[in-house]
Amino acid sequence: MALVAPILAASILAAPILAQQQAGTPPAAPAAADSKPTAPVAADSKPAESPVPANESWLTGSIDFGYRWRTGVAGSFDAYRSIVNLGSGPKLLGAEFTLTDPKHRAFDQIHVRAYDWGDDPYSSFHLDAKKTKLYEFNADYRDIAYFNFLPSYADPLLARGIVLNEQSFDTRRRFANLTLDLLPGNWFIPYLSYDRDSGSGNGATTFVSDGNEYPVPNQLHDQTSLYRGGVRFELRRFHATLEQGGTTFKDDQSVYQRPGSTNFGNVLTPVLGRTLDLTSLLASYGIRGTSVFSKGLFTASAASWLDLYGQFLYSQGDSDVHYQQAATGNLYLQNQILFYSSQQYLLSAAAKLPHTTGSLGAEIRPLHRIRIVESWLTDRLHSAGSAGSSQLLSGVGISRPMTALLASSIATNYNQQEIDVFFDATSKLTLRGGYRYVWGDASDAILPPAGLASAEQGQLRRNVGLGAVTFRPSHRLSITGEAEGGSSGGVYFRTSLYDYQKVRAQARYAATASLSLSADFTILNNHNPLPGVGYDYLAHQESLSVLWSPAGGKRWDFEGSYSRSDLRSNIGYLSPQDLVMQASLYRDNSHTATALFNVNLPHGSRVSPKLTAGGSFFISSGSRPSSYYQPMAKLWLPLSKNLNWFTEWRYYGYGEAFYLYEGFRTHLVTTGIRLTR
């Protein structure tokens, strides 16, 4: 670690100097020794002129803008916002343009894409700029509304009617990424990157106190910034990437209830003759985190028959937490049968999570038709946390100070070794067979212990057989099938893969130049027969898609797909209140189809309208029967060479058999124009 940072810094600082040397160095110079040609340089060493016309337009692209109307949402508006969330208003629906500098001054080309701006639930912006051999710059920004308010997810008072969902939120998450690669195409490429991920908004959560929990407002704000820089050495026979980075994180969530109101929570039944309530609350989280990480990658063409691969990845995150909470009301401490009216709670905590990953592998080609791929992976994650808290419970005649110290740790060591042998039986048939062994251990502990589950250890042992066949009898047909069967001697969780078989088959067939079909089949069968587990899981999915474009789609084309899936899961558990054996049965049998039909409508000499119609539907039965329809139609009408008018209709219909109150349906109509240049 200590060495990586100085090497990296020196490498980045040296980059411009080396680059200048490189530019002025003849091809035989040592710096280019590893980049030596793989074929004789043309006798005529004069650089070929680029045949790109110099008089291309400096600006090309298009912009779509218009207005969207949404009819009234019939049914649950909250469910609509949780799933679709599109609204009315003027919109910048999309913009894509390219700037070209024919003189290649600051840039060769800049590509810009932006979609769905104007209070839409997801907006994005992307920019790529480059100047050959000097830099490549990418910027990406996304703003996604994250709304969830579904009583069926968490409504503890459902027996009393549909009321406030206690785990809901109305937030926006924003992501930005800036990446700069210097000297692309060179043997030595420094790069820098910055990522920012933030979320903010409001929600409803619960303040949990002994004997009751109180729905309260919740303010959320978190932000992660990631900085990284590195250098790539790309030589003819060897590549290495060294990267150093770090993150900063903050989370300032606050949960509150203003004084002056009484919140009776989810429990209206008096406890020992007293009704519990919350009259004020302020709980705030002050969480600050940092992490550092290092990355070293290499690939090497060691010989014509041998390629080597390796990765070393290390990260260490840590967090510091200051949590404070002040609550008043008629509150209750269950294990001491104590009623109190005020609580002051302070907690300081810290956690560290070092995580090391290493991987090595090789592809060996001993014979023309045989390839052997051997890989090994280890992943070690150890986390340790500690928390110290003090609280003061007070009331009439009561002043009860309490302190606690807790320490926690989790650790997992995962290892995997795999060998695959590929055999090209013919130029059209490739067979693969392999074996994977997975082993590891894990532990989870909190001290001092409380209850029965304070320290646990688990082991992972799994033998997996692998097989695959790829058959391409002609350019029109390709069939791929792969199968995997695993047998475990230990897993971490009851629902983990244990004794399983996984099969996937895929076929693609181009029946004619205009008609192509593809089919896909997957099945996963998992079974854990151990006493106390008894898990059975079977899932399969079959899909078929078709693309038909007669005469190259001159008049019309069609693209459609249909999928059917079935999932069955059976596992037992003891109901905690009476320790009676129960079964958790999950069934999901669904049908999904998508279709898109494009028609170039009959037209005059100047106007050639185009109609697109299609959409998707999803219908399921089983544990949560639901349906979701999204038909659409869009009409394009070119008005001039650079101007198109379009109008689009979409329908969203969602229904649930068990939770009828969450269904909704609405129509959206958008109309606008596209300007092109």
């Binding site: 503890p156 992660t224 969480i287 090497a300 995580h355 999950y586 399921s620």
Partner: protein, 303 residues
């Protein structure tokens, strides 16, 4: 251990030496890119705008004026006979053989460091299945726009695309996310070729930074397996893309209250609490255990 290190060192040194002594290919008759463009005009024009055109211009790469032949092999005979039999067509080679041509230049780039774990490579999906070697445009040689990437992936992964049509899904059909936001098509050391964040953390944390921790009190499945233990990452009929229709069953399948922990040796089985699940108050565990991804404050993930 020391022996293994020594073996790797010797292997690396010998491979570097082998690299130094590698000889140039046979001086087969080359025709030059201009000769190719005389017949294959459309391809030649498109190629001229492609990033690969650099191969034609850059002396260092050794294919100056012969970029076409860097992949298709010597073409002099083909120009004379005009026979497809006299030229190498990577599209007609096995995927592995075609990839070897690409990897001749591109192996030694960080993009391919996860290639051994790539199911694309294992299933003979060649580079040209996604990359258009001759073409150019705002997308370069591969799709860049999210909706175009998704369209390309779904042409093979029909079943995966169907899952995105379920009501609760990541925003791929809407075009604000793409498959490559979560998956690395070139391969990754993580399961299902998922992306990696900050050196070796799950790619999910790229967007869900608030779930990243480290937490004082972790929820073990998040670290020991993955988010997919509880969530269907593509899409689900269940709210919050959960793998079960109601929260309590999802929790109880692990926290099964069974006293057989020493037999099955799985984690989280012993009774964490004795709530009466017949009460609506206890039927959605996350109403109280709201910090289910891990808590900075409470060992029971209550706040």
């Amino acid at each position: 251990m020391r022996n293994i290190e020594s073996i790797w060192l010797v292997l690396l040194i010998s491979s570097a030496a082998a690299g130094q002594t590698a000889t140039s290919p046979n001086a087969s008759p080359y025709a030059g890119s201009e000769a190719c463009g005389a017949c294959h005009e459309d391809i030649s024009n498109a190629f001229a705008k492609s990033p690969h055109h650099l191969v034609d211009l850059d002396k260092k790469r050794g294919w100056q004026g012969r970029a076409c032949e860097s992949c298709h092999g010597p073409a002099q005979k083909h120009t004379e006979s005009v026979s497809a039999d006299d030229i190498r067509n990577p599209a007609k080679l096995t995927a592995a053989a075609a990839d070897q041509i690409c990897l001749g230049c591109h192996l030694n780039q960080p993009t391919n460091v996860g290639r051994l774990q790539s199911s694309h490579a294992k299933d003979q999906v060649s580079c040209t299945a996604c990359h258009k070697v001759h073409a150019n445009g705002p997308s370069g040689m591969v799709m860049r726009k999210a909706s175009a990437i998704n369209e390309q992936c779904r042409s093979c992964h029909v079943s995966a695309w169907a899952q995105f049509q379920k009501p609760f899904h990541h925003r791929l059909p809407e075009g604000v996310m793409s498959c490559v936001d979560c998956h690395n098509p070139h391969g990754s050391i993580r399961p299902a070729m998922t992306q990696i964040f900050a050196a070796n953390e799950p790619g999910c944390f790229q967007c869900h930074g608030d779930k990243r921790g480290p937490f004082t009190f972790e929820h073990a499945p998040v670290r020991f397996e993955s988010c997919a233990t509880c969530h269907e990452p593509h899409g689900s009929a269940n709210p919050r893309m959960l793998v079960r229709q109601v929260v309590r069953l999802l929790c109880l399948e692990c926290h099964a209250s069974l006293p057989t922990v020493k037999v099955s040796r799985v984690l989280g089985v012993v009774p964490p609490a004795f709530h009466d699940l017949r009460s609506p108050r206890f039927q959605n565990c996350t109403v109280c255990h709201q910090k289910i991804h891990g808590s900075h404050v409470d060992r029971n993930l209550l706040r």
